[in-house]
């Protein structure tokens, strides 16, 4: 005789509110940072340079608006819903246009939903940005488990396949009977896995981190064995990028895969966290360092600090690192994705995937574009270009689908 309340499937509105004492504590910690000596080189080859992180800390403590994350996120409709035992935070923006294509976009590490905010209006409101009503998307932007405001798993098992299944459940719970998916970095991994799971509702995926390096080439690079002699220029370039990644760029990823819990540092030291988060790959570090050097191309100081502040105030440095520990897939090689796939290859991404490899890896490659600007945080750095890519990528999927 009791009324059943389906609390497990309820979708609750969500608003960000940081406690003032947490903000004060953060500011105090930044001010009291104990610094190491300067690196012994004149470049970034030993990691984040002292001058860069000091400029960042100075701006963070003295000029940055600690309510900026709240302002930006609370301007959008946010929700929380429990899936598979875990609270999932997501932004949900419906397009004013009918027949908008529902699209779930997933961020990566060291990012968050914040890296995707600049594309929201462009994708939902294309006519305000020189596009057509037929380009419109309904957007769902979730925080990965352990990231941002999503719950932190307390048991092992939340690897990409479980997340991918949760995303499909989320889209269905919202009421979408068909949708597309997009992602880069871990978001790319989750999206690629959704492609392998191929739920009937999923029309296709778009990746700005794709999984298409031929396994024999990936292996040859890791073991230092000879590469095939007939590589094209694009393929050779991708091989050079991979070799660079494996020799000098993968330390942070291996530490988080081996020992995510050991980086207590990132929960206790704001500057330690900031250094850890801005040192993802050489090109994005270069971009971020230039921003604190006064450049305004791509990102702003506030963009960078919003993201770091979000990690700090949600205590998610370690819980987010665990995705590396959970994952069992390779970073670059193909899975088995038989549904339609679109790939955008940005030049400053860790690997600019050649078309030839994308064609081999994805039998239904519906779109491929090699761009001439943009890097690891493409949606954050180049929102206009990125939005155009998404529109172009999914155009062919809008026609003739049954809704």
């Amino acid at each position: 005789m009791t009324v059943q309340t389906p609390t497990e499937t309820a979708i609750r509105p969500f608003t960000v509110e940081f406690a003032q004492e947490d903000v004060d504590d953060l500011r105090r910690r930044i001010a009291e940072t104990r610094w190491p000596e300067k690196e012994t080189v004149a470049d970034a080859t030993q990691g984040v340079q002292l001058a860069t992180i000091k400029a960042l800390a100075k701006y963070w403590a003295n000029e940055y608006d600690f309510r900026s994350v709240e302002t930006r996120l609370n301007a959008l409709p946010q929700f929380m819903t429990e899936i598979d035992g875990l609270d999932i935070h997501f932004i949900h923006v419906k397009s004013p246009h009918e027949d908008a294509l529902p699209l779930i976009i997933t961020h990566g590490w060291p990012g968050s939903v914040l890296e995707l905010l600049k594309i929201v209006d462009r994708l939902a409101n294309p006519t305000a940005y020189g596009g057509n009503a037929s380009d419109a998307f309904d957007l769902v932007i979730p925080s990965l488990p352990g990231f941002g405001f999503s719950g932190k798993p307390t048991t092992a098992g939340w690897g990409p396949p479980r997340i991918a299944a949760a995303w499909t459940a989320l889209m269905k719970r919202i009421g979408y009977t068909h949708f597309a998916a997009q992602g880069g970095d871990w978001g790319g991994m989750v999206t690629d896995v959704m492609g392998t799971q191929a739920p009937p509702e999923l029309l296709g995926i778009h990746l700005n981190w794709s999984f298409a390096v031929p396994p024999d080439i990936d292996k040859a690079i890791q073991t230092g064995s000879p590469l095939p002699a007939d590589l094209s220029a694009d393929e050779q370039h991708a091989c050079d990028q991979l070799a660079f990644f494996y020799t000098t760029e993968v330390g942070y990823a291996l530490e988080m895969k081996n020992r995510p819990q050991t980086i207590y540092a990132m929960e206790d030291s704001p500057v330690g966290l900031a250094a850890w988060l801005i040192d993802h790959d050489a090109r994005s570090y270069e971009l971020i360092a230039s921003v604190f050097d006064g450049e305004t191309e791509g990102l702003t100081r506030d963009d960078v600090l919003d993201n770091i502040t979000l990690y700090w105030l949600t205590n998610t440095a370690v819980s987010s690192a665990r995705i590396y520990w959970e994952n069992t897939f390779a970073f670059f090689t193909p899975k088995n994705v038989a549904i339609p796939v679109a790939v955008s290859a940005f030049p400053d991404e860790v690997v600019q995937m050649p078309r030839s490899w994308a064609e081999q890896a994805y039998p239904k490659l519906i779109y491929y574009n090699k761009l001439d600007q943009g890097g690891h945080f493409a949606a954050w750095e180049q929102p206009e270009l990125f939005s155009e890519e998404i529109r172009a990528a999914f155009k062919s999927l809008r026609n003739g689908r049954s809704s």
Binding site: P36, A156, R259, T262, Y264, A265, A275
Partner: protein, 398 residues
Amino acid sequence: MSTTVDTTTEIRPFTVGVPQEKLDDLRRRIEATRLPSKELVEDRSQGVQRATIKKLARYWTTEYDWRKCEARLNALPQFTTEIDGVDIHFIHVKSAHEDALPLIMTHGWPGSVIELLETVGPLTDPTAHGGTAEDAFDLVLPSLPGYAFSGEPAEVGWNPGRTAQAWAELMNRLGYTRYIAQGGDLGAIVTDVMGRQAPAGLLGIHMNLLVTTLGAPTPPPGDTEEERAALDAVATFRQSGFGYFLEQSTRPQTIGYALLDSPVALAAWLLDHDTDSYYKISRAFADGQPSGGLTPDHILDNVTLYWLTGTGASAARAYWEIGRATAAAAGKAPPGVSLPVGFTTFPGEVFAAPRSWVEQSYPNLTYFNKVDKGGHFAAWEEPQLFSEELRSSFKSLR
């Protein structure tokens, strides 16, 4: 008309004296630690367990006393001297016995001279520790550049080769014309290079980590059961324990910020070296059952030393220098070691080196022994056994 003193080769006495405000700041920071959520597993497979780090932090603020460590260090004759532009800190204990054999012994990462202190008595005063006067050593224990009280290099190039040369200069400056060298971990890398450089006066070396295996372009043989077990251990380390190594050898500065700013971060980073020592240290804090010398106080002596000297980043940089030196030497076989080599395999080390592997790397192997206890921090954990190994290893060189 002025009296000139050659300050560059001067040997100056050194005493540790940490201002109270630094200790107060340390305590305040430990008490203000922000911890992550608990790991999702029941073992160390995600890293240093939260229960362990909480116990460590509690012990650190409530029971630990740095001043005892300071007194221990200051009870030993310590010096600094500038070599090749960097101040080198070292402990120098002369044996009361005549004809003691001079020995330079080098610590590793995440260690320091702290890990070697328990061997000072057995090595320099053997008759009080189960040995004979003929077992005596004059002991020189330097802090690696960038570690503890040694200076922090402000330029690149302080790779193991340069440190090895500095050690030879140090022994020379102390007036030793015949001496031996010993090391584990990074200390083994330096000692190995000393063996290859073979400076005048160096009679032989002893190591307790087979460093030639970890950098080998081709894996060593896996024909016997012992060799296969060692290969498995190396593979496990590469697969699941290599993260800190790669981060330090590619981005020492990036991890350095946190290591300078958070004591608990530093403790976790230093605790998480290898499985055997991690569990031993973890147990010492969990149930007060330390393995040998790996007591909570000694562990925290070492962590506190890193903290108070602010050397988390500069110590990590040693790995970067090794990486750079290795890349520069790629394809070139280093000179062999023709000096006599002694080696002791401790069972808990990252891999238990089989005699066959050691012989392959050092054809002039004059001493080999596989002991039944001790791990990566052999001198720290089993100082008596370790000292006996050195006595046996170098007997033929006296």
